[in-house]
Amino acid sequence: MEGTEIVEDEGILRPMKCELNHLTMPDGSAMFMQGDTAVVAGIYGPVEARVQKMMYDKASIEVVYTPIKGPPCVDDRMREQIIKETCEAALIATLHPGTAICINVQELQDSGGLLACTVNAACLALINSGLSMKFMIGAVNCMIEKDSQKLILDPDTTQIQEAKATFTFIFDSSKKDLVSCQTTGRFTEKEFLYSFDKCKEASQCVFQFFRSIVTKYATRI
């Protein structure tokens, strides 16, 4: 308990809104909103793979992230990579050898926590597409405020401007393990572990949301 003091507070996840099967062309799609941050994801797969990217023993996973304005920049490529690696961990790619699974994500609006929102949208779209997954993936974004050292869960754009460090943790749903994480800014190890712990707790709400939406329609079909 020495060094920087972390102040406790009650965290709040912004309201989540989601619609599965938002688009007609993709095999699975979802529009997902966390607060004002909105993202649409669409999955095609398994489809015919391009010769260069074909793998004989498993499906190749391609991710395309499109920003709302301008051509994709380096940050967007990084986001693509994170989604790709996360989804590779979750999907059972060996079930569809020699094919491709294309995950497309379109940003609609960024009001903080865009990466978490994209990952969650991708997971919902994967659920909707019916591809076999080992586990669901859920992401939670949090930040540590500069002055008060407070941990804020799922901050919006105005809050993020006061951030000392931001974290995005992506968890799996079965073992509740960390799948990947992305951080910005400077922070101590303790702060990291603390926010990890909190996000892990919050991720259960995200998974609960995923489950409840599936329960909502799976019981009717």
């Binding site: 308990m1 972390i6 507070d9 009650e10 965290g11 709040i12 996840l13 309201p15 989540m16 809104k17 989601c18 599965l20 099967n21 938002h22 688009l23 007609t24 062309m25 993709p26 529009m31 909103m33 004002d36 649409v40 994801a41 669409g42 095609y44 395309v64 499109t66 709302i68 304005k69 301008g70 051509p71 294309c102 379109q106 609609l108 609006q109 009001s111 997954m133 080992k134 586990f135 669901m136 869960l153 749903s173 303790k190 572990l193 707790e201 919050a202 709400c205 949301f209 995923f210 489950r211 409840s212 939406i213 599936v214 329960t215 909502k216 329609y217 799976a218 019981t219 009717r220 079909i221």
Partner: protein, 410 residues
Amino acid sequence: MREVILSHCEKNFVNKAIDKETRLDGRQLLEARPVNIHFGSNWGCCIVSLGRTKAIAQVSCDIQKPKASRPNEGMLHINVELNPMAAPFFEAGRQSDPSVQINRQLERCLKDSKCIDLESLCIVADKKAWNLRVDINIINHDGNLVDCASIAALAALMHFHRPDVSSSEEEIIIHSFAEKDPLPLTIYHHPVCISFLVFENGNTIMDPTYLEEKVGVAQLTMGINSYRELCSLDFNYLTRTSVADVIPTISNQAANYAAELVSLIKESVRQDVEARYKKEVKNFGRFENCIATDKLTAMFTDKIPIKLSSWGKMDDREDEIMEDQKENEQIIKINKNSAELLLLKGDLFGNGGVNTWQNDSSSDDEEESSDEVVMVEETKTKCHVLDDIELSEDSEEEETQNMTKDDIQT
């Protein structure tokens, strides 16, 4: 991935339907699909859906040196991106033939027709001018991308407000939205693209769908504003056949519909902008309106408060989890025979548990008892396990009536 080639059966089917003046979605030949416009919380951002075709547009601006040939004018740049999400045969970041065609059609319709007052976007002649950029992403492809993109572009441009600038000599101050109210663009007239498709037998349809686009033999796109003025025209043969020129016969219809469409766009932009000027509370999160609330696959939550225990109390929390589990166990104890599967049903999705979708052949008393367990579960954990989780085959059939057409299709 290559585009799937349409089979002869499908082609013949569509052609025969058009022969009988019937369309697969029940429209008249010269009837367009409904248009929906939703604005985002930023200026100049909107989602437009034309039937199932969806496009999202965002206008952005920055300050650049104007072109040497036009030193006292701002610039307008239009970019339509065929997102691979819209269709599997679109490739990201590649200039394909259809994308070039759509881009050029929009450029001709919006840029060459001078519908935006670019001179007012100049700040210092030959030095600084606003550079407007309209990014249009097509996210779902169900034919007639041009119309959808043009509606999105026009709505976004009409909705867009740029930050105010004040310039003293040598210095330009860009005021943030908090300092000075942003300014809308000056738009002289409002052109929209209206597309038609001609079939082998000479019938012309308006607003073709994806399937129809692949069967038709000639396409016509007219950029028309509400004053019946033509801003751009494109007529192309898609396949090697010959049909008569259709422009004279349908231009009247195009102009009438354009006027209708423009007034629809104007009205929705006006409503949204006025609401913003009044700073109404629903100012944020407008995209949520795109989500159909009544759909089975849609879901909303309110804010989820999470009690954060402090760093040192990690162990306590684990105890809590243990307690939770005990609670669950207690429920199980209520009915040991059958409860286990049902009880956890809500939690089991995606959790790697036992597959609960297949019903075991269960006897009647087990069913009754399991119902009880569901009730217990609901009251205890407030989890929305619906009552219609039923075991017997008969009741399942009854439950299926709740599905609507939309749930399956969109």
